[in-house]
Symmetry: C2
Subunit: 235 residues, 2 copies
Amino acid sequence: MNRAHQANRLIADLPHASRKRLLASCDNVDLAFGDVLCARGDRIRHVYFPVDGFISKLTPVDGRMSLEVGLVGYEGMLGVGVALGVNTAALDALVQGAGRSLRIGVPKFRSELSASPALRRMTHRYIYVLMAQLSQAAACLSRHLLDARLARWLLMTHDRTSSNELRITHELLAQMLGVRRVGVTKAAGLLQARKLLRYNRGDITIIDRAGLEAASCGCYRAGRDIYERILSKEA
Amino acid sequence: MNRAHQANRLIADLPHASRKRLLASCDNVDLAFGDVLCARGDRIRHVYFPVDGFISKLTPVDGRMSLEVGLVGYEGMLGVGVALGVNTAALDALVQGAGRSLRIGVPKFRSELSASPALRRMTHRYIYVLMAQLSQAAACLSRHLLDARLARWLLMTHDRTSSNELRITHELLAQMLGVRRVGVTKAAGLLQARKLLRYNRGDITIIDRAGLEAASCGCYRAGRDIYERILSKEA
DNA sequence: CGCCCTGTGTTCGCTTAGGCACAGACGGGC
DNA sequence: GCCCGTCTGTGCCTAAGCGAACACAGGGCG
């Protein structure tokens, strides 16, 4: 999983003809860290299939602060609303990891959907996975301790990058996890003390991935499992 | 909203022909309090369109306890996975309010879906709403205080019943909300002291609905709003 | 070189809620 | 009327996390 991603997995798993058609309609774009691809309520203009960038899906809480409820990388897509007939974004989408992405305009994506049963099937199954992961996230956010959630976040992010180094400050992590920076500092210090990672001014290096998995809550594995079960090529 | 519900709203909003076809394929069933319609991982056998019963969707947390992440009444349906091509339940479904429901077998529902663009459209839009509500629930569960969440739960339940009286004990509420019974007792005592409701051994009477709305977190209104925006007949 | 900005570490008091134990209170069955 | 099970209220302690404030460290840049 920790290779340099060369393609979006959802697209890669399409049958040849559908894939070719879809790719022909896609542009290559670069996602820059901090880009806001859309804000809640915006009209969706493009559907994204990240390759080696990744995107946080955030929901505002009480107007002000925001909280991450999903992460989209090479394994997913952004803009599923379009496939459900709703062109309005339900969440804010913020680029967390710079990198490449495929992108397709909404009308083209719609016509690809009509043309390709395989694409419809894939998109539908991905939506199912998203719903399962959202439920999981709800439980995780409310019941699991910060250390475990931090470990989970790092693992999910690690899965979506090609390196063991993540560039992210405690402050930003705190926003993602919906806690104070101090809380992150404490939790991160704990993980570092257990020799699972090392960090230095916004530079986090994962040392012991297996250890992190053990320290994270079951939600990490559960999320991966459901994805594989529903979306693996053979399913 | 507090009338005796005579029909499922999703079905009622279908155009005549689609509605008629769908209803012809549906059975009427009675949901009894405590029925488990399906457990996570089960094969889905029927899709439900409640009329005046309602159903909790629960996700297990760490194997043991469970936590409510959704509520389905006359305004919704249970079993959307089928429309996404996945016949496996993602959540536990538990009858919280006894009452009538329409029900349709999976193969029939699939063929209705193929036959009726209006049904597809409605189902897709409902799925979009569910995703938005799940995100909301995630934020709500992790950031809002128990009083507000309790108020929200009561309001949501009230919307789905035809009476001002709910039969539910603190113990059961605690399971839904994912907290201890004592916490519910305290929060409920607070709401009662503010003259928003009255309760007596498992019998909760809502006195001041507007007051409850004020006491609840914004998630209640947000959930209603997104439903109306996406699913109202005119949209 | 010294300054400032960013990122990190620490402290203090406070609130929410969990764990546990137990005390009252109501109501149905006998 | 009495018993007993269910439902509700209370008290005590602990843990996680918030808010605010402050201290320190490194690095870029004047």
